[in-house]
């Protein structure tokens, strides 16, 4: 219909032209990258150094429990459970007499909480100290020899290949994880941002009474659908701009690498193509860049981008109409929206939580189920797709998930449309759930 096109055009153009669109398009990725970098930096930098007093009456551990930058073990003899705090130690570790072949309980007393990772770390150190001590007592291999054997044996590296019949594709779990997480997170974030935009747009039309003027020319349903499509198109435009931005940044970053390094990378590439692995001769940096390039090239970007577009659109359509329905029933008071929004925002937040679990185990049953149900599939499926189609996600799962999502958004749009067409012209009291149910399914 011609009129729906006019509505889509208006919604799209007024938003694209808005300065906030351009700003948010370029600022959002920067903020996300800075946010991630900031957290990583703080996580590395923010590790507190712990001084732990060791009360080791039998002297088993003196040479085996080694201090490093994160934990310092204080073996000074004067320290005991009574005075460790005065001597600047955050905890005291009590080593009992070791009984061979028995599980021994070590006790740690603290004034200041150490945190889960530190306790884990400590346990590992204790256990390796016990092993080392045992090796020494049984075989007489000295501590220093043991260390040099350890250092020499630190060579193994597991490489993963996804098995696609004829050719095995070198894959990078890390990159898949990053892509999956980014896509899932983006869909999660954008569903909220654009959903809220739809809601605000609808409620603006209602409170400014524009709806009444328009509804005398266009039926409420095309008005709602036009708004949803127009705003969705803004979201897709933003995504395309991000892809362009990504390609530009990738190219620029390459230009900044030193020429010799690139030459080396090319050498590896040629060597690899000819079939002789001369990796050992190249520098570590060049090898890493080569591997990164290879896994970037090995990723099926077309699949990921088209799936992203489908799942972003599907998820957006699924939720946007619900946001529109909420916008249509609330009046001037934005607080009214809060309680109505809860049943819409909860599934989105849950999907995000499920996604962060599913990304650890993309083939698990939670991941599979959550990627089928339309409430969570847009976010969860994107996290799985990054691990590969049809290896991690079989074709039938992908198609079923897509079909269910399409059916899901048709259903929510239909239902929301019925609430919307009544709500948009009703002023006064906020309707109850019961009345809204009646609008949706009875009237």
């Amino acid at each position: 219909m011609n009129k729906i096109g006019l509505i889509i055009r208006r919604e799209y153009i007024t938003r694209i032209r808005n300065k906030t669109f351009l700003i948010s398009t370029f600022l959002l990725p920067i903020i996300i990258v800075l946010g991630i970098a900031g957290t990583v930096y703080l996580a590395i930098k923010g590790k507190t150094n712990h001084r732990i007093a060791v009360s080791d009456q039998n002297g088993y551990f003196k040479d085996y429990l080694k201090s490093d930058s994160s934990i310092f073990f204080d073996f000074s003899p004067g320290i005991d459970t009574l005075n460790y705090a005065e001597k600047n130690c955050s905890a005291v570790l009590i080593i009992p007499v070791l009984n061979e072949g028995q599980k021994t309980i070590y006790r740690l007393k603290y004034k200041k909480q150490l945190g889960l990772t530190n306790v884990d770390d400590l346990e590992k150190r204790i256990n390796s100290a016990i092993t080392d001590h045992m090796i020494f007592t049984k075989t007489n291999i000295s501590r220093s020899r043991l260390d040099s054997i350890r250092a020499a044996s630190d060579l193994g590296e597991l490489k993963t290949f996804s098995d696609e019949g004829k050719k095995s594709q070198a894959s990078s779990q890390g990159l898949s994880y990053a892509i999956g997480y980014t896509c899932g997170f983006l869909i999660y974030l954008l569903t909220f941002i654009y959903g809220a935009m739809v809601m605000r747009g609808v409620s603006e039309e209602k409170t400014s009474r524009v709806a009444e003027v328009i509804v005398s020319s266009v039926k409420p349903f095309p008005l709602m659908v036009g708004k949803i499509i127009g705003i969705g198109a803004v979201g897709l435009t933003q995504f395309l701009l991000w892809i362009v931005l990504g390609i530009v940044l990738f190219t620029v970053a390459q230009a900044f690498l030193p020429h010799e390094l690139l030459q080396e990378v090319n050498n590896i590439q040629q060597a690899n193509a000819m079939g002789n692995a001369q990796m050992a001769q190249s520098s570590e940096a060049a090898r890493q860049i080569f591997e990164f390039k290879q896994s970037v090239q090995g990723t099926n970007w077309i699949l990921i981008i088209s799936c992203y577009i489908f799942y972003f659109t599907g998820g957006y359509l699924f939720y946007a109409s619900l946001f529109a329905a909420v916008g249509s029933v609330v009046n001037e008071d934005p607080q009214e929206a809060q309680s109505l929004l809860l049943p819409i925002t909860m599934p989105i937040i849950f999907s995000f939580i499920i996604m962060s679990i599913a990304i650890q185990d993309p083939g698990g049953s939670l991941a599979v189920w959550a990627s089928m149900i339309p409430f969570s599939s847009p976010i969860v499926m994107m996290a799985r797709i990054a691990y590969g189609v049809p290896t991690t996600v079989p074709y039938w799962q992908l198609l079923l998930s897509m079909a269910l999502l399409a059916g899901g958004f048709l259903l929510t749009t239909w239902m929301a449309g019925r609430i919307y067409r009544t709500g948009i012209l009703m002023y006064g009291k906020k309707p109850t759930w019961k009345t809204m149910w009646k609008w949706a399914f009875k009237a």
Binding site: L6, E205, S208, R209, V210, E212, V213, S216, S217
Partner: protein
């Protein structure tokens, strides 16, 4: 054939019979006053005519054909009481957008908007936004948007509220011009003096029912109470009580009610016989305001909610 014909229109909501069996016709080129107290059902009635609501029962005929909201929306222009414009959209674009929603092509819409902006001296507003306009200016724009697409039926809900006398006159003249060009105008307001000045025909609804229908002249005749004002010098010393009753006296003017069965000529003859020099003698017709109050008064002031068994 009437421009608009409503037959036995009904719309019941959960707690109210908003419109309960209302019929009336609007002829081509007339200015039609739709009157009624708050909550009488005017807005619901208008929303049915504009196709926003479907009537539960009854028919709406436009030029003799059944009204179809989708096709006929281009023939109707509706200006709701509470103005509806996008605050952040540029005024020129906004006017074109609304015109195109009514089915005008881009170039046609552009031309119409430009013409109207020139007529209302609004050219400098083109790139401004609604939030830059005063309430009265927004009102003018809303009126332009309502009539841009040359609708045959124009529905105006309180079009003058918030307008200064100059702009109110501007819009009033436009209303007369549009009616003279053949548009029918339904004009809903509480301001009875405006109705008297502008409308040819009125209906009055209360509690969802029509309680009065007719031309302004006929309605006034119908509700006249044989009141006259007579100015004379000197006033007769004595008034014949079987002929008329004096309601008030102010200097040389009397307001009188002529008793049933007597005519104004008899009263005049009496004054002349009494050697009284009559300088003015006029019939006092009731104002619509008085008729309105008389008809609506006595019914409970605000509309009560009632359960509907349907």
């Amino acid at each position: 054939m009437s421009m608009l014909e409503l037959a036995h229109l009904k719309k019941y909501f959960a707690t109210q019979k908003a419109v309960d069996d209302i019929s009336f016709t609007v002829e081509k080129g007339t200015i039609f006053g739709l009157l009624g107290p708050n909550g009488a059902g005017k807005t619901t009635l208008i929303r049915m005519i504009t196709g926003i609501f479907y009537p539960d029962e009854g028919n709406i005929l436009l030029n003799g054909n059944k009204f179809k909201a989708d096709e006929d929306s281009a023939r109707i222009g509706y200006m709701p009481e509470e103005r509806g414009l996008y605050k952040k959209m540029k005024i020129g674009e906004q006017a074109i957008y609304f015109a195109r929603l009514k089915g005008l092509t881009a170039s046609e819409a552009n031309k119409q908007v430009k013409d109207w902006f020139v007529r209302f001296e609004m050219q400098s507003w083109w790139n401004k936004k609604i939030e830059d306009l005063s309430k009265g200016m927004a009102q003018k724009l809303q009126f332009v948007i309502t009539v841009l697409h040359k609708p045959e039926l124009i529905i105006l809900d309180e079009p003058f509220s918030g307008l200064d006398p100059v702009n109110a006159n501007l819009i009033k003249d436009e209303i007369f011009r549009l009616a003279a060009n053949g548009s029918s105008i339904i004009f809903s307001t509480h301001r009875m003096e405006q109705v008297e000045e502008i409308c040819n025909q009125i209906i009055l609804i209360n509690k969802g029912k029509k309680i009065l229908d007719g031309t302004v002249v006929n309605v006034k005749q119908e509700f006249k109470e044989n009141l006259f004002r007579i100015t004379a010098n000197p006033l007769p010393a004595h008034f014949p009580e079987d002929l008329f009753e004096v309601l008030s006296k102010k200097e040389e003017s009397l307001t009188i009610r002529i008793k049933n069965g007597h005519t104004p000529n008899e009263v005049l003859r009496y004054f002349i016989d009494q050697q009284s020099n009559v300088s003015a003698f006029t019939e006092l017709l009731p104002s619509l305001n008085e008729i309105f109050i008389k008809l609506v008064e006595g019914t409970s002031l605000s509309r009560q909610f009632q359960p509907i068994q349907s």
